[in-house]
Amino acid sequence: MSEQHDHHSAPRNPYLEKRRTGEETIKLEQRAAAIEELLISKGLVTQEALDRLVEIYEHDLGPMNGAKAVARAWVDEDYKRRLLDNATDAMRELGFGGMQGEHMVAVENTPNVHNVVVCTLCSCYPWPVLGLPPGWYKDPPYRSRIVIEPRSVLREFGLDLDEHVEIRVWDSSAEMRYVVLPERPAGTETFHEAELAALVSRDAMIGVTHVTV
């Protein structure tokens, strides 16, 4: 993958090259199609339900949802308290919930503490508010290295934190799915909530970047 096209500037990752040849892809396609046909023929699922599900996950769920919650927390102290107290409920207030949205926990960045999220075992992630995880989140380099050497991994993402900043790495699981409440950037005092939300990226809510103007 070329650097110019990868605007997320994740660390170089050989796993991104892990694509299958045409023949292997056809076999995988056949395997997936066979399961689908079987389950549809058993009446366990319908094609319409599957199509609707893909539509939702590809278009309706995504970081634009989490960004709304972050912006709300920045302008509304009470909402921020509720978000940090019980993120699942606070997200539901805004209409964001559902599968993988149970047990969400928001962790707040401050000038002295930077939070970053990983799932070391697989790919647990708060789908309703961030969508499906990016490739690098699911791959071994990030999953292992962010725990061992967070400061240098963050530097590879372009985030150079001062030595005095404490880095907290949160390991998401089925019981706890973390989302970072980033710091509101300076110079946004006159911004409306929607303008603020537009600044908040997925990567900032995973904790591998800051929010900037």
């Binding site: 199609a33 399961i35 995504g62 997925r202």
Partner: protein, 92 residues
């Protein structure tokens, strides 16, 4: 290899590279939502499949199954385990 990662999406970047990945994803979520297995049951298989490959940051194995291949295998296993499909369905 197709470079589809740059396709625009309302919610961010493209999450599926191939159609079968999208299919495998939707099937697991739909069957779980319909109560045929719990997410933890599926996730336990996924964790096991990923772990069994033994890839690390220092030792990538580009030939070993990738994320959605683990996903597909985990789906097959949980369907058999929960008695939704007989074991021979997925024997190769």
């Amino acid at each position: 290899m197709e470079s589809t990662a740059a396709l625009p999406r309302r919610s961010g970047e493209l999450v599926f590279h191939d159609a079968w990945e999208r299919r495998a994803f939707a099937l697991a979520v739909a069957l779980c939502e319909n109560g045929h297995f719990s997410w933890d049951m599926f996730r336990n298989h996924l964790i096991h499949e990923i772990d069994a490959i033994g890839e690390t940051a220092a030792h990538p194995r580009p030939d070993a199954p990738g994320y959605y291949e683990h996903w597909l295998r985990s789906l097959e296993k949980v369907l058999v385990e929960q008695g939704v499909c007989p074991a021979e369905t997925f024997e190769r």
